[in-house]
Amino acid sequence: MPEIKVTPLGAGQDVGRSCILVSIGGKNIMLDCGMHMGYNDDRRFPDFSYITQNGRLTEFLDCVIISHFHLDHCGALPYMSEMVGYDGPIYMTHPTKAICPILLEDFRKITVDKKGETNFFTAQMIKDCMKKVVPLNLHQTVQVDEELEIKAYYAGHVLGAAMVQIKVGLESVVYTGDYNMTPDRHLGAAWIDKCRPDILISESTYATTIRDSKRCRERDFLKKVHETVERGGKVLIPVFALGRAQELCILLETFWERMNLKAPIYFSTGLTEKANNYYKLFITWTNQKIRKTFVQRNMFEFKHIKAFDRSYADNPGPMVVFATPGMLHAGQSLHIFKKWAGNEKNMVIMPGYCVQGTVGHKILNGQKKLEMEGRSTLDVKLQVEYMSFSAHADAKGIMQLIRMAEPRNMLLVHGEAKKMEFLKDKIEQEFNISCFMPANGETTTIVTNPNVPVDISLNLLKREMALGGPLPDSKRPRTMRGTLIMKDNSLRLVSPEQALKELGLSEHQLRFTCRVQLHDSHSDSETLGRIYTYLKSALKNYGVQHLPDGTVIVESIVIKVTSSPEEPNLKVILLSWSYQDEELGSFLSTLLKKGLPS
């Protein structure tokens, strides 16, 4: 029985270190290879020992696919490929291929250089890992090998994010990565065709939320920033260098322009310029509006937003600073946060999801005292605001995607168990399909029931279509008979006659003859005439013929009448038929044995 197996090594009933193994049609695929921001120990990376206890992963995996550049989706990639060991192909889109190594290097620097961790991947490993990457274009069908093909769809979310379809024969799985179903200020909405996968693996970050309109959230955001700046406070917006940052920059830029505001806006780290350049060069991945007008006005050239310098953090007066990373777990954003946390005039706006264990997560939960390294504590007096700008599909969006793709089964990852449970019920009710939510290391097996593709001889098909019409007659469906020939893994369906010929066999004729005696005072030919008339009326749906050579033919059954000169009234009716007319022959012989109607 063909089946598909899905095992999350990460992101099973959890957010962080997305890594999902799929076995389909004898192929093994790893979807994403992320890290967990909330941990600093072994739990940071997916547990690859699940695949094999010792040695490299190359022989166990046919390919690895990375959905987008967020570290919770690609952060473990160099560890997996260079330290555990994998030399097969790694697929990702062009923008992901461009941006992913920069974020990996950034992450490596923070971990190794600042925190002093050893036993971590090196800059060279990132480079070696990226050499194994094969770029993917949207909608291109990539043949990984003879049987396995993959295809990327636009996912919104961040620049270059993709959903992917994995297909072997007639079986398929779609993995969404992170996606959003509504276009925002810089990206378009996710889209997929009605590809009817056996399983749709979807993220479910916002499984229980139906978010209010984007406009409202934007207005709220601008209002809060504006108020803080007006009263002389400083606003810290922790972001990832690429993604939400560009959307919020576009938002603030237009607002500053419109309101003629003077307070400076800064963007931390040297990545800014570079990041915006990526957006300019990959403009075809942004939304319709930006693409249409980019020649006249490139939305990623900002007038009001300047590069940040460490020393500015101590400047007096209001300012807005975008700083990385987004969850306040390290680096510049944490550094600035520490400086500003003590002043209630200031504000920090968390524009995205924060995983457990990060400072971001703690302050969002209302923690007012934070333990810092070296046993010091930090009092959080500044205002903490959460504004969900991270582009994930909400419950409505997930349902919308299901409607688009029409999967046979649903599998949820990248979400919290409780919220998943809620969504799972909803999906099962509304779409009447099974929905799964395996935990890490737990395997979901789905039995697929694919059709079997076969080559049918055109002659046979045409003959059938001519005789029976394209669609079966619901009252009297015509049965088609053919012979399936299996040779060298090919399956061909031909007419039995052709099969005989092809196999070099001759037909074996099986015939039956049955003599029925009856008394009739007419001549032999008159008796035959009576038989003809009788059968003609008894067998309305069959071809009954009276041939001039003294035979009656029913379909291909031959009927003759003889008598001996000694007993001219004792007629011997000779019926002869082949195995192909067995039912009719049997019926006729029984019928005629009862005699002719007078």
């Binding site: 062009h94 770029p135 274009n137 909608h139 291109q140 069908t141 350049n277 060069l281 990959f282 020649v295 029931n449 059709n451 079997v452 076969v454 080559d455 049918i456 055109l458 002659n459 098909l461 059938e464 029976g468 669609l471 079966p472 015509r478 049965t479 088609m480 053919g482 012979t483 399936l484 299996m486 040779k487 060298d488 369906l493 039995p496 006659e497 099969a499 005989l500 196999l503 066999l505 001759s506 037909e507 074996h508 004729q509 099986l510 015939r511 039956f512 003859t513 049955c514 008894a538 067998l539 069959y542 195995y579 192909q580 007319d581 067995e582 039912e583 009719l584 019926f587 029984t590 019928l591």
Partner: protein, 658 residues
Amino acid sequence: MKLYCLSGHPTLPCNVLKFKSTTIMLDCGLDITASLYFLPLPLVHSPRLSKLPGWVSKDGAVNLEKELKECSGRVFVDSQPEFCLPERELLDLSTIDVILISNYHCMMALPYITENTGFTGTVYATEPTLQIGRLLMEELVAFMERVPKAHTATCWKNKDIQKLLPAPLKDVVDVCSWRRCYSMLEVNSALSKVQLVGYSQKVELFGAVQVSPLSSGYSLGSSNWIIQSHYEKVSYVSGSSLLTTHPQPMDQSSLKNSDVLILTGLTQIPTANPDGMLGEFCSNLSMTIRAGGNVLVPCYSSGVIYDLLECLYQFMDSANLGNTPFYFISPVANSSLEFSQIFAEWLCQNKQSKVYLPEPPFPHAELIQTNKLKHYPSIHGDFSSEFRQPCVVFTGHPSLRFGDVVHFMELWGKSSLNTIIFTEPDFSYLEALAPYQPLAMKCVYCPIDTRLNFHQVSKLLKEIQPLHVVCPEPYTQPPPAQPHRTDLMLELQPAPMAYRRCSVLGLPFRRRYERIHLLPELAKSLVLSEMKTGVSVATVSAVLHSKDNKHVLQPVVKPAPVPPSKKRKRVTEDPPEVLDPKPLLTGAVPLEPFLALLHKNGIMEVKVEETSGGHILHLQAEDVLIQLEEEGTHIICDHNESLRTALRDLVLRFLHKL
């Protein structure tokens, strides 16, 4: 399967393929060479052109002085230039289901096909093809609309008058089908029918046919197309290049195993080597500049110009051209330069890796940033105040009949210091220059055509081995001017099928199979038996279900058993309802084992008689004869129906069903 050829032009093809039940147009190139018969459209009033004498026949009988003007011994039509369209009478354009575009040069006739013809289909093209194609169309429309002509010349087209005109006008065929340029409204409407596709994307058409674009290596987003069903494959090769310029390399291997390969768009200058031409271009350019002259490069706004600029970027400093201004003048100059930088996915590896840095893939970004290259929408406006000489101007249109280039021809034509360098291969440069004669400026012809030459194509065909090749007629003969050059034609076995405008070709296919799907329940019920080593067979009884060209076999649903009622009695009297066709039988019934089987079933008294063909068995107690032969078995049994069916089943045990 048929191919309707609506254009005979080898590099501006327009063919329609009827493939299974789908009607597919392959490209719709627009032949702009017709505009060479027209007078140039000057942007600025040209005293020279306006003073040209009108044409009157020698005997004075025909006076067309309003429509035709004489210029240095030739006669030109004084009207808005017109184009030669693909044939519109050969087939009803409203029946076209899809149009596949291979590159932006081959889509310029699109509005003539999709607008006001009843066309309701879909056009497929890659994103760069669409975007740059749009720019080229916009540019063409702008060139025409900037210089409105009060009158349209029509009298000269009258057949009776045309034959009295001097050559070459009197010899031009089919002038009645020539059309003026379309409007922006029509362009927008035509392009709104385009659906974007990526390389190697598989697009299903009506369930019957799958089409897929492949990189052709010629220009940004240029593609060849595979059109296939499960059993037939047509490759459409149009404008391909094996040279390494800016586009992604050509995908050759996917063209393998084609039944038919339609080959168009080979190089128009098979004798010129593009690299050599590029070198000549640079040296002529720097020579002219050094001598204090200006250089005019008539060109399209996208394509080779990117390579020219890149070449100049590398060459500039060593040739001491660092301070020479380079101008690119076109209504779409800015857009073209900007668009070229955002299609990383469609570029060669080298350029792709630049984007990862992130740097713009083409060095013209740097030329613009350092003010070495400036671009303007037209000669009017900023350009007129910022213009410095000597300089290099890239501008269109390469036909020299419209666009800003007309102005520079009038401005610079009289000085021998200046040089015009032709790089586009679409127009004969002598024809293009005709209305400007006499000229003092130097003319250099460096056509750069990166498309496949005959040597490359024959190597490619050897590699991919299509069963049949279809190509425009000129490819099957040496060039008319060089009849001895048999190396400049296609020599293939079997000979290629040649087409010309209005040909209708039947394409040779010997398709014998179709794809069908067995429902899993049906597949599970099949019993395979091995007939020979490695060959197994199973008989299939099933119900066929065909919809939208998809065929499915379902298991036969047994009719519900007749409910026990008074009807039951009559059942035996009714003939069998459905004739379930019986399988064919094969094999033989061997005598001894069969006798043993009869014995086992209680039939003891069997008299065996040898005959010429086998044996006759007389079952004495039952009075039944069984004739056993190699090719058949005949059971003669008169009275006992249940005995007969029992014997039948015993015989069947020895036979295979098919």
